[in-house]
Structures are given as structure tokens and as C-alpha cells.
């Protein structure tokens, strides 16, 4: 897709090895990967206006070529429910980013403002990611989020491109797979939607081999029939 190539070109021209959140989400949307409604804003007023268009509650995240790890820089504010909260969050994020720059001795570019997105309803947290192995090339990873990935490292891999049955096998073969079937009276999760996301990510990477690493973390998966949403997306590319 042309949109991905264009975004990667822009990143490279700025000597960035990562794409900004809005860019990552645009690429994902172009590949049919479901993401919450989003926009960008460069002033507090604009952030309020965009939040109203998207609908509360919203999330604000710093958009800067100088900040890869947004939370570490105090650049993320979630579950903002009113105009005032959005206005305040905007100011805080900008202030934090400036401070982060001073502490790290970098002149942080704030001209792009913030990423405004719908605050997604909580679902079962999963991670879908891509890595490039020196021997085997691109591989896609799937696992449940939170402690399952952090502590138990309960993840599984396949080389890209993969088939639909590979994707289904991945979802079945993690140790905690039963959680997706619905435990303790919960209804089963929408694994068909997950299969679609995995296959779309595979296609995206196949068509854009300059992608070095990628995380859709977290991705929320909802009850069967209610789909899935990639809430946070990170794409790293070759410079």
C-alpha cells in the first residue's frame, strides 16, 4: 500500500527508526486492522474539539519524533471524560515532554502536538508482534497480555507469511488458550477477529519488508461477535 511507503519515507527523512502513533494507526487502518477512532491536535483547544468529535472518554498521547517510549516521558493520559480534563491533560503532557527533554539533554520537538484517540472499552488483553530473525526472517508472535507475556512468556511464533490455519493454531497452542474460550462463566472471545488481525499484520509486513519490529500491545479482544481493537501500535523500521 502506498500510504505505508509514504509514511516510512517521511520517517526516514527525519532519521526516525519508528513511526508515530497516528502514522502506525493509519497504516493499520489501510490494512483493515481495527483501531479505535483517532485524530491529532496541536493545541489544547483543538484537542478538546477533536475529543468531542471522537466522543468521550479519550486518550491523549505525545506525538514527537524525539520520544519513542511515551509513558516513560509522562506523555500518556487515559480515560479523559470532560473538556476540562482534556485541556489539563494536554498542558501536562507538553510540560512533561519539555521536562523529559531537559533531563535527557534533547530539544524535544513538540510541533506535532498530541494523538487523540477513543479510550477503548477494556477487553481481554493480547499481544501480536513481529520480529525479524537473522536466520529465518520475519516472524509473527501471539500471546495473552499482562502477566502471561511479562512473567510466563506464554507466546508462540510463526514465520510470515502464514496461512489462516497457522493463525488458528497459534491462538490454540498458547498455554493459557482456555482463557479465550471463556472461563468462570465468561462468554468466549472473538478469536475469528484475532485471526483476521494476525493475517492482516502478516500481509502488511510481507508488503513492507522494511518493518524491523512491530508490537500491537495491547490488543483488546471482546466477546464473540464484538471484534478486537489494536489499542497501542509501535512499528520500527530500517533507517
Amino acid at each position: 500500500m502506498k500510504i505505508a511507503k509514504k509514511i516510512f519515507e517521511t520517517a526516514r527523512s527525519e532519521n526516525r527508526s519508528f513511526v508515530l502513533e497516528n502514522e502506525a494507526k493509519e497504516i493499520m487502518r489501510a490494512y483493515g486492522i481495527p483501531v479505535p477512532p483517532f485524530d491529532t491536535a496541536t493545541t489544547a483547544d483543538e484537542a478538546v474539539e477533536k475529543s468531542k468529535e471522537i466522543g468521550f472518554p479519550v486518550v491523549l498521547k505525545i506525538l514527537s519524533k524525539d520520544i519513542l517510549h511515551k509513558s516513560d516521558a509522562g506523555g500518556v493520559k487515559v480515560n479523559l471524560r470532560t473538556e476540562d480534563e482534556v485541556r489539563e491533560a494536554f498542558q501536562t503532557i507538553m510540560e512533561n515532554a519539555r521536562k523529559y527533554g531537559e533531563e535527557h539533554g534533547i530539544d524535544v520537538d513538540l510541533s506535532r502536538g498530541v494523538f487523540v484517540s477513543k479510550f477503548a472499552d477494556e477487553g481481554t488483553e493480547v499481544i501480536i508482534g513481529v520480529t525479524r530473525d537473522p536466520q529465518f526472517g520475519h516472524a509473527i508472535m501471539f500471546g495473552l497480555g499482562g502477566i502471561f507475556v511479562e512473567v510466563l512468556k506464554d507466546v508462540t511464533f510463526r514465520l510470515i507469511p502464514l496461512t489462516e490455519s497457522d493463525a488458528r493454531e497459534m491462538i490454540r497452542e498458547i498455554k493459557a488458550a482456555k482463557i479465550l474460550d471463556g472461563i468462570r462463566g465468561q462468554p468466549p472471545r472473538d478469536t475469528d477477529a484475532l485471526v483476521k488481525v494476525i493475517l492482516a499484520v502478516s500481509k502488511m509486513v510481507e508488503e513492507n519488508p522494511e518493518i524491523r519490529e512491530l508490537d500491537c500491545n495491547p490488543t483488546f479482544v471482546y466477546e464473540k461477535g464484538n471484534g478486537a481493537l489494536v489499542v497501542d501500535a509501535r512499528i520500527l523500521i530500517d533507517v
Binding site: S17, F18, L68, I127, G129, V130, T131, R132, D133, P134, Q135, F136, G137, A139, M141, G143, V149, K153, V155, T156, F157, R158, L159, L162, D166, R172, E173, K175, A177, K178, E213, L214, D215, N217, R234, L236
Partner: protein
Amino acid sequence: MRSKQTIEVFARRMAVSQNTNDEIDIFFSAKSVAIYGASATPNSVGQAIVQNFIKPQFTGRVYAVNPKYSQVLGIPCYPSLQDIPDEIDMVVVAVPARITPRVFEDIAAKGVKAAIVISGGFSETGPRGAELEDQIVKIARENGIRVIGPNCVGVIDTTTHIDTFFLPEYRCSRPRASNVANISLVSQSGAFAAAIADWTAELGIGMSKIISLGNKCDVDDDDLLRYLAADDSTQVICFYTEGYDPGKGRSFFDTAKEVTPHKPVIVVKSGRGKRAKEAASSHTGSLAGSDQVAGAAYKQAGVIRADNFEHMFDMARALAMQPPARGDRVLMVTNGGGLGVMTTDALEAEGLAIPHPSPELTERLQERLPSYCAIGNPIDVVGDSDSSRYDIVFEEALKSGEYDIVVVGMLLQTPTLGMDITNVIANHQRQSGVPFVAVAMGGAFTSKAGEIMELMGVPTYATGEKAAVAAKALATYGEIKYRDKFRRTLFPDNP
């Protein structure tokens, strides 16, 4: 239009692989071989290799190359290849690394197209060695010479008796080809290749080819996978690998995907603990151990990964001699209760289904077997059984269609069970197409009987655990080969 294009692409790829296979075939079919660095010194590498080629089994012509001698062990020795008044198909190089570039000039001038470089002292030792390796690769590429090695023991072919292993036969036995089915092994490690040659010879496992790849400067896993896939004398392809050069894991994966529906491929890969070298800036990158990615690639390509060599050959023997299973339902038949229970425990741990016979089948078996036989799974035909009770069980159970694999437990210490059981198994196997695995525990008599059963094509194991590994491999390969048509009845939580 599109399909025409696809066919053309396919045809071109087949042509390329046919060319490669012809090039690789020289290493196993060479009719005239020159040994560079042949030596008159006893117990030297250069002499051990010559000794292999003067055995009567090798029917080709052999020449020695070494300016120091006019003959080595009675075969003519020349200062260079160009002095040999005959065409040469393959050169075995066993000279110090530093003079190999000169040797390759000679190989090129003689027009030889295949060389096995036994010598070490190349890229495995550091940058200077790597430079030498680059030099010989350059000469080889420019002159269309295919190279196995360096830093390897080369190849053994049990049919043509090409044998470049420099391990004297009294220390390292050579395996033989079986009339039933044969395994080929490709090993990155020369020491393992030698140990496996010796070990499979001792166990009487039918082998076709053993290839040690060493530094893989030219011929690699992928070339041999293609070659062995088309080799009629190889029924199962085994690999021992420590890792792949950049991108080579992917080409092996691509080839394996094409091969595994037609021929089983088993891999033992070491280096499980190592992490990817590339620095990771993402969550996924930090979680992706290179070995985990390799494991995923094998699974996706239908390559069976074994934990160790023992498992590899337990699996390979069964896959070589028996058809893949069409489902996961195993029947255990035994003349000893303990053996039956132990084996079914092991089968269960492997994730295989062990269903009880249906009421109808139970009734038929009760009608035909003595009342003191225990009918369940396992079916215990009891210690005074001869082969006829096994015959009854096989006949009824296979007719019922309730089982996809039969594991036969035999305590041959009993006076009643004779070797005619082998024919009973072979007959039912052939008629039903259902794979059989035998387990016979015991000492000298049992081991000998097991060897005889293997000669008849019945894979026979010394413990229930080993038989279970074999049965699992037959089911795993069935799933690889038959895909959605494989009848899976058991869906473990963590397959």
C-alpha cells in the same frame, strides 16, 4: 494467464533444482576419486581416507595426489591433478588450509566439479581462516565447483561405498543399507556424523547416506534437503544443525514446506538457549529467542523436531518402515500386563488417544479369545499366548476401524510366543495400511528377535517409552501429510 505463468515458474524452479541435484549427486556417485594430501604415514588422516577407497566394496577408481610419493598403499600418486591420466569426478582435500587455494586452482584446471574439503583452519578459527575460505569459494564459484566443508568429515554412501570419513573402521563402524527402508543424516558436526555412523552400525539401523557439512561454505542444508527429497534410497531425512547462516534458515524452511508432504524430515537443533543477536527495541523482539523462531518455522514447514538423537532415530525407524497414521487412536496389545500399562502411560503422555474398544468390538473379542484375556486398552492376551491370539485381535480391531495405530507389546521370554508373530504383524499391516510399532523388552534373545523383526519391516523398540515416541511420530507425520483429513480425536489443552 496466471496459471500459465505459475506453471512456468514452477517448471523453471524444478529445472534449477534438477541441475543442483545433478551437481550434488556427484558426491555420492563419483566413479573416479582423487585424494589430495594422501599420505603414506600410518594413522594419518591422509592415509585413513585412502584406505576407505581401496576396500573392495568401492568399485570406482582412486588416485592419490601428493608430490612426496609415487604411490600410497599401492595406488598411484601424482604431484597434481593435472598429471593424472584420467578424468576425475570428485576430489577429497586433506591438506593444510593455507595451501588449499593452490589446490583449488589445480581442481579448476583439471575441470573437476565436486570437492570435499576435510581440512580445518578456515572461518571457524577467525578472520585469517575466513579469508582462505573466501578464496576457495571464489575459485569454486568461478569454475562451477561444488564444495562440501571445509572442516568436515565428508560423506558416506552405503550403496556406492564412497566414504571420506577419516575414522578407521576398526574404531568407527560403518552402517549398512537395509533392504526395507533407509535413513539419511545431514550433520553440521563431523564428530556427531561419525558417532552416528558407528552407533547406527552397531544397532543395525538401515542408513543410506551420512553427510557432514562443516562450515557450509557452499553446499548447505537446503541443497541436501532437495537432493535427498528426490533420492529413492532415502525414506526419512534427518538433520543435525547448530544454526543457519543469515537468511539460510528461511530457504531451508521454504524447501522443507515442499518436501515434508512427500517425505518425513526430522531435525535435532542445538543452541536452544541462545537469544537473537539483533538488539531488540520492541516487546516482541525481546521475547523472540532465535531458537523459538526456529521451532516455529519447523512446525510450520512440517519438519518434526526431536529433542535428541535417540528420539530422532526412534522416530526415523518407524517413519522409514511404516506408513503415517491417519488418526491419533492407538490400540495397545500385549502379552504382559506391566508392559501394557507402562506403554499406554507413555502413549498418553505423548498426547495420543487410547480409546477403549466399542461394546461391539469387545463382544467379538470376548467370543474369540479365552475368557481370562483382559479386553480394554491395552488388550492383554496373557502370558500363555501364541501369535494366534494377536492375530485375532488385529483382525477384529482393524476390521472395526476403531484404531489408527497398533502398538504390539511382546515379552518373548514366554515359551509360547514364536517369531511367526512377525509375519502376523506384517500381514495385517499390509492389508490394513495401519502402521504397527512393536515393543519387546529383554536381553540377548529379545534383542536378536527385534533385529529380525526390523529386517521384516516391523520397527521394534526396547522400551514402551521409545515405542511411544515412535507411535507419536507416525501420528505427527500423518497430520503433516494428511492435514485436515487427519482424524484427530484428542485435543489436549497444550498440544
